[in-house]
Each structure stands twice: as structure tokens, then as C-alpha cells.
């Protein structure tokens, strides 16, 4: 059952093999650290594996490359560098003596590393409305997984709540897979995601109802329809404006929450900063948490994009390495470049909330 010895002598243990975690492992290993990645999926790549859209940005950030191809590039690099990977393994607990409990199949064992970098990502937010627990009410990302990763036809007709980038991209991918999309509702008075995505889905004939929300799912054992209403300026439902939309899937795309349970357990300081995605682990600009042996990156640190998650991963990986072996020219170069690229991406007007959130994170340490 227990095989502690196999996993001793680890410099850096990376929890989560998505875009952020893979970059951590790659830079740290390139610098010479002994790295192990733990991931609960059979394959690496995290949520990139279901992303069929091409990335934006500059060439350095895989512009024009599809998400699942980025997953392959990073995974190939992990294999090339001979990085230890524990797949289909879930980190389930963080213990007093800084050991991590891992569950792989029926085996539970513990592992101790000198540094931990958590890149656990985020989970999709739920929304409550009448019958919101009916089968057929799915996270938009869940539908994307079923359809793009497993090739399952997710349903006949979808209805989407939320017009952020996920709420705009997933319905487009549904159309590509031959599934009908009835409508998208957005509670605010403007679309949340990028204009290009909104234009694409609207050109395909899918209406986006602004200042609308869902109040009820209809159906007995499975979703048959969604009831929506207009909302007023204080987000109150305007009675008499109800409209029933037939559908067999309701996709919830209202945002993500960082998966920071293990960090709570580890005793890391957690702050509530809505601009960064809710409860997030406190971290400095070097991605170090309130505990000097624990670093974070990616959606866990701040709900953002895969491109920024990869840059944060580089910073976290280098800084975890430097905390063990000191700074050198190469490590310094990687961090300087990653920080510069991050600040360029975050200078866009779309990313203002992130800068605001980081300011709050910084001041929170003195306020508490």
C-alpha cells in the first residue's frame, strides 16, 4: 500500500499538469531540479486537451495554435526532459510535516518534496434556480469535455447562461459538432467575452439576450426547457417578461473558482478577492504563498487565460528552484522575460480587474 521511499528526494512537486503546472515542471527541470508532476487525469495537458480554438496573442504565447496542440507540445517536452509524472493520481491531503497524501486507484501513499507548486486550476461555478439540479444542467466546460475530448454528442439543443469567453466559445464548438444552440443569456448590459467570439456566434444566428437571466429549468428527469426573464437595473427579475426556450441542455458559463482546498489545509493564507476569482491563495509577485515552501500559479492564483497561466508557471517554477539553489543568469532571464510578457498582456483594458485584484492582494497583507 504505502511506498514512501519511491517518492523521496523530490526538489519540486507540481500538483496539476495543466498549462501552468507543465511550464513549472519544464523550467524547473531545465534548470536542474528534480521534479515530479501529480495529475488526476490519465493524460497531461489539463483543460487544454478540450480546447479546439486557436489562441490569441504573440507567437511566444502560441498564437494561432489550438489548445489541444499546445497540450501536446508541452507534454512532449515533459517526456523529452524525462520528468517524473504520477498520472491518474489525486492529491487529497496536506499534512503537518509538509507531506502530501496521494490517492492513485486504491493506493494511498504520501510524498514529501522540498517545495510544492500548486497548479490545481479552477472548477466551474454553479448557479441556483428552480430545478438547477436536473440532469442536463451542465457546466459549459463539462459539455466541452464530453464533446471535444470524448467525442460524445452532448445533446440536441443547448441553451447557454453567461457570455464570457467560455459562454461564447463552447456554443460555437457545439455548432461545429452539429448541435443546435437556442440562445445565450447575459445578465449584464454587454457581452462579457471578446468581441470576435461574440460576432462569430451571432453571425451563426445564435441570439444573445442581454439583461436576461434564467429562473427555472423545466423537465422531470432531464432538462426539456429553460425559462428566462428580463432583469432590471438592480438585477431584479421583471415579472411578465418570462419566455420559455426549448432545449435539452443548459450550459452554465458564469465563471470559475480557484481550487484552493489543499492550500487551506496547508495553512496558507487565503484572501477573498472577487477580481481574481473569489477565494485565492495570497501570493507575492514571485508566486510564493504565505508559506515559503509553497508556490501557486495559473487559475488557482487568479482566474485568467491559459497564456497567462503558462507565464505564471514559468515564474513559479524558477522561483521554487531559486529558493533551493539560488539565482543564476539563466533563471533570472526566464523570470524577467515572463514578468515582462505578463505585464504586456495585463496592460490590455480587458485585464484591468486583474491588476486591481493584485493591488488588493498586496494591500491585504497589511490590512489583516
Amino acid at each position: 500500500m504505502s511506498n514512501n521511499l519511491t517518492y523521496s528526494n523530490i526538489d519540486i512537486c507540481v500538483i496539476g499538469g495543466g498549462p501552468a503546472g507543465l511550464e513549472v515542471a519544464i523550467v524547473a527541470k531545465q534548470l536542474g531540479a528534480h521534479v515530479t508532476i501529480i495529475d488526476d487525469n490519465p493524460n497531461l495537458g489539463g483543460q487544454l486537451v478540450k480546447q479546439t480554438h486557436k489562441f490569441f496573442g504573440s507567437k511566444a504565447h502560441y498564437c494561432g495554435v489550438r489548445g489541444f496542440d499546445i497540450a501536446k507540445i508541452l507534454t512532449d517536452e515533459v517526456i523529452k526532459l524525462n520528468i517524473d509524472v504520477l498520472n491518474s493520481a489525486t492529491a487529497v491531503g496536506y499534512y503537518d510535516n509538509d507531506t502530501l497524501g496521494i490517492l492513485k486507484g486504491d493506493n494511498f501513499f504520501s510524498l514529501k518534496a522540498k517545495r510544492y507548486v500548486f497548479a490545481t486550476g479552477a472548477s466551474e461555478n454553479m448557479l441556483t434556480f428552480e430545478n438547477s439540479d436536473l440532469p442536463g444542467v451542465y457546466g459549459a466546460g463539462a459539455v466541452q469535455t464530453m464533446m471535444n475530448e470524448y467525442g460524445v454528442i452532448p445533446g440536441q439543443k443547448a441553451f447557454v447562461i453567461g457570455s464570457g469567453n467560455i459562454g461564447l466559445i463552447v456554443p460555437y464548438q457545439l455548432l461545429q459538432a452539429g448541435v443546435e444552440v437556442a440562445a445565450i443569456v447575459e445578465i449584464l448590459d454587454k457581452v462579457g467575452g471578446y468581441h470576435v467570439h461574440a460576432a462569430k456566434i451571432q453571425r451563426a444566428g445564435v441570439p444573445i439576450y442581454l439583461k436576461h437571466t434564467i429562473i427555472e429549468a423545466k423537465g422531470k428527469d432531464c432538462v426539456k426547457a429553460a425559462v428566462i426573464t428580463k432583469v432590471g437595473d438592480n438585477f431584479e427579475c421583471l415579472l411578465g417578461t418570462e419566455k420559455t426556450i426549448e432545449c435539452d441542455m443548459i450550459l452554465i458559463a458564469i465563471g470559475l473558482s480557484p481550487l484552493c482546498e489543499l492550500l487551506y489545509q496547508a495553512g496558507c493564507r487565503i484572501d477573498y478577492i472577487p477580481d481574481l476569482g473569489g477565494h485565492v491563495p495570497y501570493h507575492d509577485e514571485n508566486m510564493m504563498t504565505s508559506k515559503s515552501n509553497i508556490f501557486v500559479c495559473g487559475d488557482l492564483a487568479c482566474i485568467e487565460e491559459a497564456s497567462t497561466a503558462m507565464l505564471e508557471g514559468k515564474i513559479a517554477g524558477v522561483k521554487a528552484y531559486e529558493s533551493l539553489y539560488g539565482t543564476n543568469k539563466k533563471s533570472d532571464e526566464i523570470v524577467t522575460r515572463a514578468k515582462k510578457e505578463l505585464s504586456i498582456i495585463r496592460s490590455s483594458p480587458f485585464e484591468q480587474r486583474i491588476l486591481f485584484g493584485h493591488k488588493k492582494l498586496k494591500s491585504s497583507i497589511t490590512n489583516n
Binding site: D40, N41, P42, Q47, T52, R66, F68, T90, S123, E124, M126, D133, L134, P135, G136, V137, Y138, G139, G141, A142, V143, T145, M146, M147, N148, Y150, G151, V152, I153, P154, Q176, A177, G178, D221, C222, L259
Partner: protein, 102 residues
Amino acid sequence: MDGYLTEHPILEFKRGKRVRFYFEDREIEGFEGQPIAAALHAAGIRVLKYSDKYDRPRGFFCAVGKCSSCLMEVDGRPNVMVCMEPLKEGMKVRRQKGRGRL
């Protein structure tokens, strides 16, 4: 096997070998190694369990092993997260009622 995408403008799907398994007492076909939830969804099965308190039907929600909405009884074992558990030949999958008994 009607529930699967066959043509896609971007993706090609690599699937495992065809296997037979049981849902309740019904024999169903699926692909080895795919999550049980994917095989069930493709077969048109949306209700995966019934809730603890009010016996309400539940399906998957996150499909990536985070939310515990898809816990089923697999080969007699309760609380198996079927969105993550790989399908094997001959598996006996049942809807779980409530918390499941050990």
C-alpha cells in the same frame, strides 16, 4: 453507437476497443478506457444517481472529477466518480441512491 460524433471539422477521435458493460440490467456497448459517464451519456442515459435527501435525479455537472455529482455504484462499490473512472469490459454500473452503502 449513435451517440458519438463521427465527423468533426477539427477533431479526430481515437477510441479504445468496443466493450460491453451493464447499466442497471441493460447491456450497453462502449469504448474501453473512456469515462463511464461518457459511455452512458452516449447511450442516452442522463440520470446517474438520486440525491440523498429528496431522491432527486442527478447527472454529471463538471465532467472533470471535481463536483461529485456523478457518483454511481460500479461493480458493487458506491461513490465511484464515473466522469473519471475508465470503462472496462463487463462492468456493472448502477444508479446510486443517496450516499451508498459499504
